[in-house]
Symmetry: C2
Subunit: 263 residues, 2 copies
DNA sequence: AATTCATTGCGTTAGACTGACACAATATAA
DNA sequence: TTATATTGTGTCAGTCTAACGCAATGAATT
C-alpha cells in the first residue's frame, strides 16, 4: 500500500535485467541538434522531476555495435532513421557520473537500487552528436523522463544541467563548428528543399556570427554539392528566393573527403 | 613439474586482480608514431609469440581518468611524459576482440583463463594516437609481449596484425592527415632544433606526397609558430640550412584554436 | 686553391580565392 | 500603383597559392 506510483516496466527491466543486457561501464550520450525558426535547438530531457536536464542517452547491448547503439537511442527518442550521427569524444573522468540521479528516479517509485548495482557504477560515456530536421519530427516520451523538450542553444546555459552534460554539450558544439569548416552540413538539419538564406541562417546560427550573403552563396555554390531548382519559395513578403536541394552523391563524397583538402 | 616457464607476476596480477583493478569492457589502444630517417614508423608489439603484431594498449583503472590511462600506457611503454596524445575514435564492434589471443598468451605459461573471466569478455576500445621523437627514446619491454619494435608505416601492411588493429592504425593515420590540415604538428615528433627540410620531410611522409620546398617554407613561416635560430646545421655535403624551434606559446595556441579558422 | 654540384635562401608571376560593397529585379504590403 | 525589404548578379582590390628562377653556400673533387 505504497503511495508511490508503480514502477514502470522499462525501469524495472533496467533494474533487473540491465546487468545481463548491457555492457558494464559504458554509456552513450547524444547531443541532438535541431534547427527551427532560425534558432539552433537541443533535445533535452527533464530528468525524473529532479529539475535537472539531461542528454538523451542509453547503454550498449552486449552484442551490439556501439555506433548502432547510438542510432538505436536516436531512433527510440526521435523515431528518426538515417540521420547523420557523429562520435565526437569520450568522457571518462572517474567522478563524472553521479549515481544519486538514478537513486532519486527509483525512489520516486518507492524502489531502491541495490548497492554495487550495475547502474550505479562508474560509466565512461561516448558522446555523439546528431543533426535533425526539426519539422518532420515528433518527440517521443518515455517513462524514465517526464518531459522531452527542445531548448534554444543560448537558453541552455541558464538551465540546470545534470552530470557533466553541460561540458558535453559545449564540446559537441565546438566539434560541430570545427566540422563546419571542412565538411558539408545541413543535410538532415534542413527540409529537403531549402533556400540559400535558410542555409545561411543555419551557418550563422552555428557559428554565432553574421556572414555576407553574396560571399556565402558564392562559396557554397563553389562546393558543388547543391542542386538549384527551378522553383522559388513564395510567401515571404519580398522577392522569392530559389529553392535548392543537396546533391546526394556529391554531398556524401564531400562528407568522406572533406571540402578542401588543403595541403 | 610443468615444462612451461613460470607465469610472470604482471600476468598473474592481470589474471587474479584484473577484475578488481580495471573497468570492465573498456580498453585503450595507442597508435604511437615516430619519425626517423625520413620514415614514419609505428611502435608495435610482437604479441606473445603468436606471430601477430598488436598495438600497445591497456586498461583503465577503476578510479582513473581514461585520458590518464592512455598517458599511463604511453609512459609504461616508452618512458615518455608530456607527449601529444589525441583520442581519435572508439572501436566498438561486438566481434572486434578475439579472446583466443589472451588464451594463447596464458597457455604458454601453462595457465588457463577461467570461462567468463574479465579478460575474455567483449571490449570496446578507445583509440589514441601519439607523436614522439624517435631519437630520445628507448623501447621498454614487458612480460606480456616478447618484443617491441618500430615498423615503417609502409611495411605494416605486410605484417600480420592482430584483431582489428590494422583498421585502427588506418584510422589513426587518416586522423593524423586530417589534423595536419588545421593543426600544427611536429612538436614531439622532431628534435628540439630542426631544419626546414626536415620539417618538410615529416609533412611529406605523413601526406605521402611531395611538396614544393619554397611554398612549404612560406606557408609554414606564415603560421607564425616557428623561431628561426641564428645557427645552421653543418655536416650535410651542401649549403647548411638554418635551424628552427617551435615557439611554444604560439604552438599551443594554434593547437587550441587551429591554424586557419576558415569561416 | 680552384672548381664542381647538390642544396638552400629568397624572389617573381599568373591565376584563384576572399572580403567588402554596388545595383537592378521582384514579391508582397500599403 | 508605390513603397519596401529582400534576392540575384556582378565588380574590384587585396590576399593566397602553385609553379618556377636564380644567386649563395658548404663540402667534395680535382
Amino acid at each position: 500500500m505504497s503511495k508511490s506510483p508503480a514502477l514502470p516496466a522499462s525501469l524495472k527491466q533496467l533494474l533487473v535485467k540491465g546487468n545481463d543486457l548491457f555492457l558494464p561501464s559504458i554509456s552513450i550520450d547524444c547531443v541532438i541538434f535541431g534547427f527551427h525558426e532560425n534558432t539552433l535547438k537541443l533535445l533535452l530531457l527533464d530528468s525524473a522531476k529532479s529539475n535537472k536536464w539531461t542528454l538523451p542517452g542509453g547503454f550498449v547491448l552486449k552484442s551490439e555495435d556501439i555506433n548502432n547503439a547510438a542510432y538505436r537511442v536516436l531512433l527510440e527518442r526521435t523515431g528518426l532513421k538515417d540521420i547523420y550521427l557523429k562520435q565526437f569524444d569520450v568522457f571518462g573522468q572517474p567522478n563524472r557520473t553521479d549515481a544519486s540521479v538514478h537513486k532519486t528516479t527509483f525512489e520516486q517509485y518507492g524502489s531502491k537500487i541495490p548497492k554495487d548495482h550495475w547502474l550505479i557504477q562508474r560509466f565512461v560515456s561516448v558522446g555523439y552528436f546528431a543533426l535533425i530536421d526539426y519539422t518532420n519530427f515528433s518527440i517521443q516520451n518515455d517513462t524514465m523522463h517526464s518531459a522531452n523538450a527542445w531548448k534554444a542553444i543560448d537558453q541552455v546555459k541558464h538551465l540546470t544541467i545534470d552530470h557533466d552534460h553541460g561540458a558535453i554539450i559545449q564540446k559537441a558544439l565546438d566539434s560541430l563548428r570545427t566540422q563546419l569548416a571542412y565538411l558539408p552540413i545541413g543535410k538532415n538539419l534542413l527540409p529537403k528543399k531549402f533556400t540559400m538564406p535558410e542555409l545561411q541562417k543555419l551557418y550563422e546560427t552555428i557559428l554565432n556570427k553574421p556572414l555576407d550573403r553574396r560571399n556565402f552563396q558564392r562559396k557554397m555554390l563553389g562546393f558543388g554539392i547543391l542542386n538549384k531548382l527551378n522553383e522559388t519559395r513564395k510567401g515571404g513578403a519580398h522577392k522569392a528566393p530559389f529553392l535548392y536541394t543537396f546533391n546526394d552523391k556529391k554531398y556524401q563524397k564531400a562528407l568522406k573527403e572533406g571540402l578542401y583538402g588543403s595541403w
